[in-house]
Symmetry: C2
C-alpha cells in the first residue's frame, strides 16, 4: 500500500510537474489568443496605414511617409529600439500606358506596366502581335523567330489555397520580357498573373537579363487577354499601338523599420516577426502587405501588454520587397555581425486570409517544440505542415543565410484575385480573419520567445 501509494504519488507528481511546465506556456498562449481575438488593433493599424499613406511604392516619397508612419506607430505602441535602417536601391516610375488594337478592330485594351519595365520609345510603336498560348510555347520558339514583333504570352492561373498556382503562372511575368527579347521581340504583353476577371491588370516585377535587350513589358487584365486572343483568331496579323512612359530611375532611398519588445532573460536571442511596408502603386497595399504589417505589429503589442517575453521579439517592416527584396538583402548585409542572434524568422505576406498550416524550417530536434506550438494553434484551425519553410518572402533571405524559420501559411484562395491590382484596398480585409491571424502570431510569438531551449537551424 505504501509502495503503491508512493508509486501513485510519484506518477501523480511527475504528471503534474509535466503538465504544469507544459501547461503554463500553453495557458499563457491561450490567454493571448483570447485577447487577440477580442482586439481590433490589427484592423486599426491596417486602416491607418492604407488610409493615411495609401499606395507606397518602394523608393518614393510615399514609402518614406510609410516609414514615418511606422516609426510613429511603433513608438506610440511602446516598442523599444524603434529605428529605421536605411538602404539604397534603383528607382522606378510607372508613367502612363496605352495599348490600342489596330484597324479594323480599333479599340483600347487595359494594361499595366510591369514593375521595373522600361518604356517604349516616345510616341510608342505599331507592331504585329504574336500570341503564345503559354510561357512554355514561348520557350519552345527559336531565337529570332519573333523579331520586331510584340509577344503576347497567354496562359492560365489555377486557384489554390496554398498559392502554388503562382509558381506555375508566374514565369510569364518574372522572365517573359527576357525570354521574348531573346527571341527578337520588341515588347511583351502578358496575361495577368491573377485569378479574377476584373479589368484591373496585375502588375509585379519583371527581371531583365544582361545578355539581351531590355524591352517594355506590361500585363493585360484577364478580360483583355481574352479579347486579344479572340481578335487574333479573327486576324492573325493584328497590329497593336503600344505606348508606355515607365522608366528606371537612378539610386533612390528606402529603409527597413525596426521595433522591439526586449526580452527579459535572453535579449540577444531574437524572434523576428516580419512584413513589408512598401506596396505596388496601383492599390493601397491592404492585403499586400498592410495586413502583414498590422498582424505582426499588433501581435507584438498584445504580447507586450501581456508580459515581457524571455527572448526579444523584433518586428521588422521591410522596405522595397516588391521590386526584389532590396530591404531583406540590405538587412542581411547590415546584420552580418549579429546574424547569429536571430533565433527565428517568420513573415506575414500572403494577404489577410486565415492561417491554416504551420510549416517548419528548423532542426529536427526542435520539432517537438514546434508541435507544442501547433497544438495550441490547432484551436484556430492551424494544421501541422511541411518541413520546408523559408519563413516568408523577405525573411527567406535570412533563412537562406542560416536562420531557423517557421511559416504560418495563410489561406490564399482569393489572394490572387487582388494581388498587385488596384483592387488591393482595405475593404477586401475581413476583420475576423485578420484577428485570427493576429491571435496566431501573438500565441506563436510568445511561445517561441519563451520556450525552453529555443530553436536551431535545420541540420
Amino acid at each position: 500500500m505504501i509502495k503503491q501509494s508512493g508509486t501513485a504519488l510519484f506518477f501523480l507528481t511527475l504528471f503534474s510537474f509535466s503538465t504544469a511546465m507544459a501547461g503554463e506556456l500553453e495557458q499563457q498562449a491561450e490567454t493571448l489568443i483570447d485577447t487577440a481575438l477580442a482586439s481590433s488593433l490589427s484592423y486599426e493599424i491596417v486602416e491607418s496605414l492604407t488610409t493615411e499613406v495609401g499606395p507606397r511604392l518602394a523608393g518614393t516619397e510615399a514609402e518614406a511617409r510609410a516609414r514615418d508612419w511606422a516609426v510613429k506607430s511603433m513608438t506610440d505602441l511602446g516598442f523599444s529600439n524603434v529605428h529605421v535602417e536605411p538602404f539604397e536601391m534603383p528607382g522606378w516610375e510607372r508613367g502612363q500606358i496605352s495599348v490600342d488594337v489596330g484597324a479594323p478592330y480599333s479599340q483600347p485594351l487595359t494594361a499595366s506596366a510591369l514593375g521595373k519595365s522600361i518604356g517604349t520609345p516616345i510616341g510608342g510603336f505599331d507592331a504585329q502581335v504574336v500570341r503564345f498560348k503559354d510561357f512554355a510555347e514561348l520557350m519552345a520558339a527559336p531565337e529570332g523567330s519573333i523579331t520586331g514583333k510584340i509577344a503576347f504570352i497567354d496562359g492560365s492561373m489555377i486557384r489554390t489555397q496554398d498559392g502554388s498556382g503562382y509558381g506555375m503562372a508566374g514565369p510569364r511575368r518574372w522572365v517573359g520580357a527576357r525570354e521574348a527579347a531573346r527571341r527578337g521581340a520588341i515588347a511583351v504583353l502578358i496575361r495577368s498573373v491573377g485569378t479574377d476577371y476584373h479589368r484591373n491588370p496585375h502588375t509585379g516585377g519583371t527581371v531583365y537579363a544582361e545578355d539581351v535587350p531590355r524591352i517594355p513589358a506590361a500585363a493585360l487584365s484577364n478580360p483583355d487577354a481574352d479579347q486579344l486572343a479572340r481578335l487574333l483568331a479573327l486576324k492573325s496579323d493584328l497590329t497593336l499601338h503600344y505606348t508606355q512612359t515607365s522608366r528606371i530611375l537612378g539610386t533612390v532611398k528606402s529603409g527597413n523599420v525596426v521595433g522591439e519588445i526586449t526580452g527579459s532573460e535572453f535579449p540577444d536571442e531574437v524572434v523576428l516577426l516580419a512584413a513589408h511596408l512598401d506596396s505596388w502603386d496601383n492599390g493601397t497595399g491592404a492585403i499586400d502587405d498592410g495586413a502583414g504589417v498590422a498582424i505582426v505589429t499588433a501581435a507584438a503589442k498584445i504580447i507586450a501588454d501581456f508580459g515581457t517575453p524571455k527572448r526579444t521579439i523584433r518586428v521588422v517592416l521591410f522596405g522595397a520587397e516588391e521590386p526584389g527584396l532590396f530591404g531583406a538583402k540590405a538587412y542581411v548585409t547590415a546584420h552580418r555581425q549579429d546574424f547569429d542572434q536571430i533565433m527565428m524568422v517568420t513573415e506575414s505576406d500572403f494577404g489577410a486570409g486565415r492561417v491554416w498550416r504551420m510549416d517548419t524550417g528548423i532542426a529536427k530536434t526542435d520539432e517537438a517544440k514546434a508541435d507544442r506550438i501547433q497544438a495550441v494553434l490547432a484551436r484556430l484551425g492551424v494544421t501541422k505542415g511541411l518541413r520546408t519553410a523559408s519563413g516568408g518572402s523577405d525573411v527567406s533571405a535570412l533563412s537562406g543565410a542560416g536562420a531557423p524559420a517557421i511559416s504560418l501559411r495563410q489561406n490564399g484562395w482569393d489572394y490572387f484575385d487582388l494581388h498587385h491590382t488596384p483592387d488591393d484596398t482595405l475593404d477586401k480585409i475581413d476583420p475576423a480573419d485578420l484577428a485570427q491571424n493576429t491571435a496566431v502570431y501573438a500565441a506563436y510569438g510568445w511561445m517561441v520567445a519563451n520556450i525552453e531551449g529555443g530553436f536551431h537551424a535545420p541540420e
Copy 2:
C-alpha cells in the same frame, strides 16, 4: 341517346376546337423555346459585337462601326428591310481625369468622368472637398453654402433583383452636378452608383440645368469613396486636386439600325423588339447592351427560321441610348406618320440575367392574351408581374407616346456590379442565362405576332 350523343359531340367539338386554337400557338412557342435553348446564336452575336467593335460610345466612329456591324449581321441573317435611320446629337469626349488628395495624405483616387460632363479648367484646380452623406443631405444644404468647394456626394446602393436600387441611388449621378452647382460648388464627385467593390468607377450620364453653371462631375469607385470619407474624418478641411479634360462637342451623327421579319397577314402591324447599340466607352458593352442586341436579334432569327409570323417583327437597335435616349426620341419623331402601326414594344436592356417577370402596359381587355403568353413562359421561370410596363429604356419613349408595351424583366441582382464600368465585358455573360432570354423573346415574339386580335394600348 341521340340527343345525349349530340350534346357530347357538341362539347367535345367545342373543347377540341378551343384547345386546338389555344394549343397550336402554345405548341409553336414551346418548339421555339426548345430551339432557342439549344442555340448558341445569341452568344455568338454578343461575342461578335463586343469583340469586333468593342466600346461604342454614342456619336463616335466606333458607334458607326457598330451600325455597319449591325447592318451586315442582320443582312447575313436574312432580315428584310435592313436599314439605318440616321439622326444627330450633341457629342461628348471623355478625356483624362486625375483626382489627388492633398497633403498630408497625398495619394491618387480612382475616378471616372460622368457622361456629358464638362472638364475642369486646364491644369485643374485645388479646392476643399465637402462630404454629403447622401443626396438628401445635399438637397437640404442652402444655396451658396458650398461656394468654391468640391461637393462629394456619398450614399449607398441597395442590391435588388428588380433594379429598384437604381432609382434610389441614381439621383446623385443624374442631377448631383446641377444641385451642387446650385449651392455654389465648383465640381462634384459622387460615390459610384454601383453595388460592387472594385476600383472601376461607374460612369453614366449627368444632366445640367439652364439656370445654374455647369460644373465638372465624376464618380469615385466604392473603395475610393470609402477612402475619401475616412480621410475627411481625419481632416475635415481636406483639399483635392482635380483635373478633367472631358468636353462637350458639337453635333455628331448617330443612327438606329432596323431589320424586319415581314408579317404574312398583317405586315403593317408591328411587334417592335428593341435593344441599344451604343455603349459607354469604358467597357465593351456586353451586358449594356450587347446582350440585348443579341437576344432580340437571335430571337427574331429563330422565329424567321421557324416560320413567317402573321405580324411584322421589327428589330430596332437604337443608337445613343446612354447619353439620353437620342435614338428613341429620333425614332418617335421620324415615325409620327406610321406610329399607329406599332402594336407592341419591348426592349431588352438590363443585362444578361434571366427573365423572371412579365409586366404589361396594355389594354385591360388584352390581359387574357398576355396571360396566355406568360403561361408558356412560366416553364422558363417567368412570373406574372405588374400592369405598369413601359417596355424598357428606349421604347419607354414609344409607350409614352401611346404604344402598347410588355416588359420582360431580367434578374438584375448582379447588374449594378458591372453597369457602366470597364468590367462590362463578354466574360460576365453566362451563355445559359443568355439562351434563356433568347428563348423567352422567341416564344414571346412569336405569340405576340400571331395572337388573334393583337394588343392595344392601356385605356
